[in-house]
Amino acid sequence: MNVFDIIGPIMVGPSSSHTAGAVRIGQIARVVAGGKPVAVTIELYGSFAQTYKGHGTDKAIIAGLLGMAPDDQRIKDSLALAGQAGMSFKFRKSSNQAVHPNTALISAVDQLGKKTIVQGSSVGGGRIVVNRINEINVKFKGDYYTLLIPHTDTPGVIAAVTKLLADHGINIAELNMYRSHRGGEAMMVIETDQAVKAEVVSLIEAVKTVKKAVLIEPIY
C-alpha cells in the first residue's frame, strides 16, 4: 500500500469496484484476445448482474475492451463508440453463483473467428483478479508485467522459459502453473519485475510445446 492507493486512483465514477475494476477486466480481456475483438458476449454475475446499469459496469467493461483506461472520460459513451469501432456486444445476467460477487465472464471473438474467454472479478478499490482464461482456471491481478503462456504439459517447458527470462535479466516475482490434467492443456502465468521485450516474448513462443505467449502490461 502506498499514498496513491489512498488518494487515488484517478478514475471515472461512480464506483471503484463496479466501474474502475470493470474497465480493467475489459482491458485484460482485450489484450488476451489479441487486441481487437469484433464481437463480445459478457456474462455478469452477482452484484455486477444486479446493479450494472446504475454503476455503468456495462459501459466500463466495453470501454476496457476498446482499450480505454479507468480514467478515460469517454467511458460513459463507450457503448456508442463500440459501434464506431466495429465491435458488437451482448450482455447477459447470470443467476449462477460465481467465484466472487463482482464477476464478469467475457467471450471475445476476433476477426478470424477465434474465441477467447476471460473471467475476472473486481475485488475492491478498483483492484481485480483474473480467474479464468479459456478453459483453465488461473489467478493473477495485473499489477506486474504478466506473461500468459499456454502450452502442452511436458517436462522442461518451465525450465526453458525461465532460463530465457534469466538470460535477459528479467526477475520473476511469481510463477504459477495450471493444467487441465497430466500431459494436457496447461497455462503458465509468470509475473515479472521488469518489462519483457517483444523479442523475448517471441523466443518464449519458440519453446517446444509453447503455443503462444501473451504479455500483459501492469494495469495499475
Partner: protein
C-alpha cells in the same frame, strides 16, 4: 520506514523531528516507492488538478445520473453561496457545494480521484480547495496536505478499513472526513498533535454510520453524506485548531471503528439490504431502476 500502525506515532515522530506529518510521509513514500520526492509531489499535484476540475464542472452542471436519482444539487447550493444567502457562512457553504459537486460528477460517470474511495471522493477536495480559496493558500501547500491525508488514511486502512462493504459508511465517509480534518489542520498551521485530534473528532462523530445505498448505487444517501462528511471535517479541524483535545486517543478511536464495523450486520454494509435501502421508497426506486 514508517509502518503506518499508529497515528499517534506519526504525530510524535513529526513533533520530535520538528517536521510536518506530510513531510514525513513524503520522505517515507519516496523511499518506499523508489521515486524522488519531486516525482511524488507531481503525481499528487495531478490528482489535485483532477479534484479541482471535478469540483468546477460539478458546480455548474445540472445533468442527472444514469439512474436519474441525482444531479443538480451542487448547483443549487452554489447559487445560495454566490447570492450571499448562506445560513452558515462562506467557508462551510462553499465546502458543501464542492462536496456535492464532486460526488455528483462521480455519480454521472465523470472523472474523480478516489479519496479514499469513489463513494467518498468529494470530502477531502471540497474542504481543502475551499480553504485554499478562502485563505489564499498556495497549490504546493494543498498538494503537501494531501500527503498528510493519505498518511493517516493508510493507518486507518491498515488498522480498520476504508471500505463501506467492510466497515460501513463510517469507514468511507468517516475516514475521508478524518483525513480531510487532519490535512486542514496542517494547512492552517496546526501542530501534528492537533491533526491527530482532528482525525479522532471526525471519526468519533460518525462511529456506527452504516452503508445503505439505495438500489446499491453510489448516489442516495452517498452524495449528501459527502456534504455532511466535509462539514464534519470542518467542525473537527476547527475544534482541534482551538486546542480542544480528544479524550479517547485517535488510535483507540480507530480500534473502536474496526470493532463496530466487524459487529455491523452484513445488511448494513453496502449490500443494499438494510437501512435506507430497505425503506418502502428505496425499494420502489430499486424496482424501477433495476427493471
Amino acid at each position: 520506514m514508517i509502518t503506518y500502525d499508529s497515528i499517534q506515532e506519526l504525530a510524535d515522530r513529526a513533533r520530535k523531528k520538528g517536521k510536518r506529518i506530510s513531510e514525513l510521509v513524503l520522505e517515507d513514500q519516496a523511499l518506499h516507492m523508489e521515486q524522488s520526492k519531486d516525482e511524488l509531489v507531481e503525481l499528487m499535484r495531478k490528482s489535485l488538478h483532477v479534484m479541482a476540475a471535478a469540483a468546477k464542472s460539478g458546480l455548474t452542471s445540472r445533468s442527472l445520473s444514469a439512474s436519474g436519482l441525482s444531479g443538480g444539487d451542487a448547483n443549487k447550493m452554489k447559487q445560495v453561496v454566490d447570492g450571499g444567502r448562506s445560513l452558515s457562512g462562506k467557508v462551510l457553504s462553499e465546502t458543501l457545494a464542492k462536496a456535492l459537486a464532486i460526488a455528483e460528477v462521480n455519480a454521472c460517470m465523470g472523472r474523480i480521484v478516489a479519496a479514499p474511495t469513489a463513494g467518498s471522493c468529494g470530502i477531502i477536495p471540497a474542504l481543502l480547495l475551499t480553504l485554499k480559496e478562502e485563505h489564499h493558500l498556495t497549490e504546493d501547500q494543498v498538494v503537501m496536505s494531501l500527503f498528510t491525508a493519505a498518511g493517516l488514511g493508510m493507518v486507518i486502512a491498515k488498522k480498520a478499513s476504508i471500505s463501506g462493504a467492510e466497515g460501513g459508511c463510517q469507514a468511507e465517509c468517516g475516514s475521508a472526513a478524518a483525513m480531510a480534518a487532519a490535512a486542514a489542520v496542517e494547512l492552517m498551521g496546526g501542530s501534528p498533535q492537533m491533526s491527530a485530534h482532528a482525525c479522532a473528532f471526525a471519526l468519533k462523530s460518525v462511529l456506527g454510520l452504516v452503508c445503505d445505498p439505495v438500489a446499491g448505487l453510489v448516489e442516495v444517501p452517498c452524495i449528501k453524506r459527502n456534504a455532511s462528511g466535509a462539514a464534519n471535517a470542518l467542525v473537527a479541524a476547527e475544534m482541534a485548531l482551538a486546542g480542544i483535545e480528544s479524550t479517547i486517543p485517535v488510535d483507540e478511536v480507530i480500534g473502536a471503528m474496526k470493532a463496530i464495523g466487524d459487529a455491523m450486520p452484513k445488511a448494513l454494509k453496502e449490500t443494499a439490504e438494510g437501512g435506507l435501502a430497505d425503506t418502502p421508497t428505496a425499494k420502489k426506486i430499486a424496482r424501477e431502476i433495476l427493471r
